[in-house]
Amino acid sequence: MSAIASTSVPSRPWTFYVLALFFGAYVLFLYGPMLCMYVLSFQGEQGALSFPMRGASLHWFHQLWEGRTADIAGAVARSIPLALIVMVITVVFSVAAGLGFRRRVRGSNAIFHAVIVSLTAPGYILGIGIGLMFSLFGWQTSWYTSALGSHLSWTLPFGVLITFAVFGRFDTAFEEAARDLGASSAQTLRLVVLPILAPGIIAIALFGFTLSYDEFARTLQTTGPNNTVPIEIWSMTQNVTSPTIYALGTVTTAISFFFIGAAILAVVLIQRRRRAPRAS
């Protein structure tokens, strides 16, 4: 049996084992500290900021939810709707722009450069700029206006870059075939283009949601009187010295993981359905 295996599959070079070890070490480096934090958030009431674990309980989650250290429930109730709004706007604007970018229109290079500026400009500076703009116009900053805009300046570039990658692989023959068969341009978009782009659109939605939900540098000067979750986390790093902050880390990461999992599952299901033979 092993003889057959060794003849059909060429043996792995020694570099495979070295690099596999290297990769394993990187994954440990990536996840190790986060796992430590999750474990420590479930400590007993005597818990401190480092190991060893002092008992096990949900004490610090209760502390967190009672809101003695910060208004976490309120922050979550703002951050999630904000992330959903940013997600929808990012998907619609990026896909529309992706369709537009396919034609060589005047100014498209300038728009592309603006996208790159939006991506590489330090977030805190953009936040200051939006804050200054609002105060000079006499507008009140709030999470659903100025912070929403600052989040778009971070999520739209990713959305546009993903549409570039997705449209680069898109075969325009499908569109032409739909038009030849008598589909209107709205029908072509709804029945042909969008379904083909579906996995890419889910990727944009995932970036839109998670990048907004965790956005910090751009939000600091734009959130107004009510904080989002990352701002609450930031104020806790300045004055909280109990495992409550780890509990908040565990909660907010769990929320992120839920949306990441949903997005990955959706893409896997779409791919599986495409590969499955048609019933009829």
Binding site: C36, M37, S50, V92, P122, W234, L248, F257
Partner: protein, 286 residues
């Protein structure tokens, strides 16, 4: 008639958003950088005082040097990590589904909170932390290492932890496009494993490396919170000094400092993008 304007209509929402939330705010930063600061008030004026104060101060130079030092260290570490992680995934993992799965494993933390990921190093690096505990138990050290947390080491470690993914993705993309026949050709021409890596893989991943470098360097140079928290207040960068200014309502000096930093970043990106056409790089078939 309509078809001619359609692309413009499709690009309009994006353009408006960028004008309103990127271009206009940056114009306001430039404008305010010429304003006068009087106590806690920012007064419309046209003065170069803010720039003069920044450019004539020795503190500024040290902030920039510190920022560049962090950027270089993070760049070097993330380049080595990113290159070999991508190399392993593209050339050593044979099953495509496994490769995508492992790639996602590297990407998932990027979709979670940066601030939280940074904080999660505290229980690992602290004096009673995991690393010191392990080293003490193994008898390798007699007293806990203090250099692990609240030092340059912890700052750069956190940067590498947060930003290496920005190196992995573009390099992974470039490597995925390399024609496997080239390896055979290189072997036939007598190149060993190392020579192939140096003469075939490295030049063909150049554009990915450049794009990753732009991301990592601009992210480090734009950071303020990692420096503030992970150095324990012992170190500062250009943007963290800006943050301190804004905390005391000194908007005009912060804006001037922002303009100088933006100019430096623009020159840097312009130089780096001479080696790579970003747009072409993205649209190319994978």
């Amino acid at each position: 008639m309509l078809a001619r304007y359609k692309p413009y209509l499709q690009l309009a929402p994006l353009t408006l958003a960028l004008l309103l939330f990127v271009a206009a705010p940056l114009c306001f930063v430039v404008t305010v950088s010429f304003f006068r600061t009087d106590g806690f008030d920012t007064i419309p004026a046209f003065t170069f005082d803010n720039y003069a104060a920044i450019l004539s101060s020795g503190l500024t130079v040290s902030l920039y040097l510190n920022m560049i030092r962090y950027a270089l260290m993070t760049w070097a570490a993330s380049l080595v990590l990113g290159f070999f992680v991508a190399y392993f995934l593209v050339f050593h993992v044979r099953n495509r589904t496994v490769a995508i799965g492992l790639f996602l494993l590297c990407t998932v933390p990027f979709w979670t909170s940066n601030v939280i990921r940074m904080i999660s190093w505290m229980p690992v690096l602290a004096e009673q932390g995991v690393i010191n505990g392990a080293l003490l138990k193994l008898g390798l050290i007699d007293a806990p290492l203090r250099i692990l947390l609240f030092s340059d080491f912890s700052v750069v470690l956190a940067y590498v932890h947060l930003f290496t993914i920005f190196m992995i993705v573009p390099i992974f993309n470039s490597m995925s496009r390399i024609d496997r026949n080239l390896f055979e050709a290189a072997r036939d021409a007598g190149a060993g494993r190392f020579k192939t890596l140096l003469l075939v893989v490295l030049p063909l991943t150049q554009s990915g490396i450049v794009m990753g470098s732009i991301f990592v360097v601009t992210l480090v140079m734009g950071d303020f919170y990692v420096v503030k928290v992970m150095s324990g207040g012992g170190s500062a960068s250009v943007v963290s000094a800006m943050y301190d200014n804004v905390s005391t309502l000194l908007f005009a000096p912060a804006a001037a400092s922002a303009v100088i930093l933006l100019l430096i970043l623009t020159v840097l990106i312009a130089l780096l993008t001479r080696f790579v056409d970003v747009r072409h790089e993205l649209v190319q078939r994978g």
